[in-house]
């Protein structure tokens, strides 16, 4: 071969990324970048920023607890923060005991609820991703499915439960399938939105190099759609829908789980336990969302700077 000159391996672009220590969230506006004009040692600013974030979070929590405490002082039917945290500590001291159907630790209860929500969510993902790919790739499929989705989407999740419970004659399965119905829309719509925006140049590449159906799916469609799909999964699970709905469903007609237990505590007028249960539900929801956000970040397409 006769190359005219030796080719040095070129620079790797965008050293700037190294100093960008705030990763913009997938759904938020871009985080303020490091716009400081005075040079700051990289480690210091990061530490200071993390410290400030934690500090202000503590201020917020303290303010919230203070308001709660004031409200509980004016209305003695409300559970007070102190009592709630005492109960919470007792619950968390032994979360996994199981003394039969009516007496289980909160860990066991949460696990029962999580299993339901994961079943419904997994079913929704299995059905929703292929449906979303189809709907996003074909105008006809979109035109067929979109009206149904738009009508069914605003229906309150809980409205499905009675029909499913009656039809399936099984509240357990009805709960799972209600979660399925709820989790399906965000997964389908977000996957479809991703599939509908495969860049024209990538489609051209697939045509010029004669990608088969499988190669197109594997190298073009799925990689492009992945971030939108994960957004859909996050909306249908972490951000709320699935987790919020399953607790309500258990209250409506469950036989076990944290939602059912809260309803039982309410009937026994044990409001300290109800409040502690709410704190636990919130914490589990937060963990779910953080996990999915992490997943979203892992699959985010880093386009980088095209020079």
């Amino acid at each position: 071969m006769t190359l005219t000159q030796p080719l040095p391996v070129e620079e790797v672009v965008d050293e700037r990324r190294g100093t960008l220590d705030v990763v913009p969230g997938p759904d938020g506006p871009d985080a303020p970048g490091p716009t400081t004009t005075t040079p700051v040692p990289p480690g210091t600013s990061r530490l200071r920023r993390a410290g400030a974030a934690i500090g202000w979070a503590l201020v917020g929590v303290a303010g919230f607890v203070a308001l709660w405490w004031l409200a509980a002082g004016r209305n003695d039917k409300l559970p007070a923060p102190g009592d709630t945290f005492t109960v919470l500590r007792e619950m968390l001291a032994d979360p996994f005991y199981d003394n039969g159907p009516d007496d289980k630790g909160v860990g066991v209860l949460v696990w029962l609820t999580l299993q339901r929500v994961f079943k419904g969510w997994a079913l929704a993902t299995l059905a929703g991703v292929p449906l979303g790919l189809l709907v996003g790739s074909s105008r006809r499929a979109w035109q067929a499915v979109n009206p149904i989705v738009q009508v069914l989407r605003p229906v309150s999740p809980l409205a499905w439960f009675p029909i499913l419970a009656f039809a399936l004659a099984d509240t357990e399965a009805a709960g799972v399938w209600t979660v399925f119905v709820i989790a399906l829309w965000p997964t389908v719509l977000n996957t479809a939105a991703g599939a509908a925006t495969v860049p024209a140049d990538q489609r051209d590449v697939a045509r010029v190099f004669r990608f088969g159906r499988l190669a197109y799916l594997r190298h073009v469609l799925v990689p492009h759609v992945l971030p939108s799909t994960v957004t859909g999964l996050r909306l249908s699970m972490g951000m709320g829908m699935g987790w919020i709905v399953i607790v309500a469903i258990e209250m409506l007609g469950g036989s076990s789980g944290i939602g059912r237990q809260i309803w039982t505590w309410y009937n026994a007028l044990n409001l300290d336990k109800v409040a502690a249960g709410i704190v636990i539900i919130g914490a589990v929801g937060l963990v779910l969302d953080l996990a999915l956000m992490r997943l979203a970040r892992a699959v985010a397409l880093d386009e980088g700077v095209r020079s």
Binding site: V12, V205, V208, R210, R306
Partner: protein, 271 residues
């Protein structure tokens, strides 16, 4: 082998009406030839090259490669795009491999790997093979895209403003690499390239097809470039023939209102 276009017509819907972008194009590219298509935006040069690639059906007329009609993409024609168009989640080597595996399914995994190594090495990217496109510069991305096109061992290379998005120094290096690959590293017989650059067209081409905007004819002129190869970018500027071709192109692209469109653009292109 030759690539023959006969009476090609193509119209697009445009502001309520239709715009005939290709208006009876006749073109014959011979084996061993490098042909450039030059003209202003909207003259149909990209449309023509996409039609040659089989990405766009013609309204009328025909494209034949060795007598066989071209109506869809095929492994005998590979393409380099202006915006590199690497698949963003695949490493450079996987981009090349995936293209070879798909375009030449008979080749098998090992042969596809060999082709990827050979052409990535030829463009000086074997060391960077495991990088993702966003991790390397635009010039490197386009080199990988050129390697990908040659790796499928096409008989025809089509390029749509392949160097348009690159800086001048990177562009010069890629131009040399493209010619080297074409002349000595591959069995690719002919090249059709869309360009905006007059000097680029003269440096690389055997013939330059000047295209005009509607409503005039699609092909305004075909200018042969009779400069011996290999061409040296520095010394050919002093060649009287280079001057002559350059002047002719400048005149066609700037001085003929209604045929070649906006003069300001061609002055830029010449600069």
């Amino acid at each position: 082998m030759s690539l023959v276009v006969e009476g090609a017509w193509k119209s697009f819907a445009h502001r309520g009406g239709t715009q005939a972008v290709l208006r009876g194009v006749d073109l014959n590219v011979e084996p061993g030839e490098f042909v450039s298509l030059i003209g202003h935006s909207g003259c149909g040069k990209s449309t023509l090259v996409r039609a040659l690639g089989g990405l766009l059906p013609l309204d009328a007329g025909s494209i034949r490669l060795d007598g066989q009609p071209v109506s869809a993409p095929g492994p005998d024609r590979a393409m380099v795009f202006q915006n590199y168009s690497l698949l963003p989640r695949l490493s450079l080597v996987d981009n090349v491999r995936a293209a070879v595996r798909s375009a030449r399914p008979a080749k098998g995994r090992a042969a596809a790997g060999e082709a990827a190594e050979r052409y990535l090495t030829a463009v000086g990217l074997w060391e960077a093979r495991d990088k993702k496109p966003h991790q390397v510069s635009g010039g490197m991305q386009q080199r990988a895209a050129v390697a990908r096109a040659f790796a499928v061992e096409p008989r025809v290379l089509l390029a749509d403003e392949p160097f348009g998005a690159l800086d001048a120094l990177t562009r010069a290096r890629l131009q040399s690499q493209l010619i080297d690959l074409w002349t000595s590293e591959s069995d690719t017989e002919l090249v059709v390239m869309v360009t905006h650059g007059i000097d680029e067209a003269i440096l690389l081409s055997d013939r330059i097809v000047v295209m005009g905007n509607p409503p005039g004819p699609s092909i305004v002129d075909v200018i042969p470039v009779d400069l011996p190869r290999p061409r040296d970018r520095v010394s050919i500027i002093d060649d009287p023939h280079h001057r002559e071709v350059q002047e002719r192109l400048l005149r066609l692209l700037t001085a003929a209102p209604g045929i070649a469109g906006d003069p300001a653009e061609a002055t830029e292109a010449a600069a």
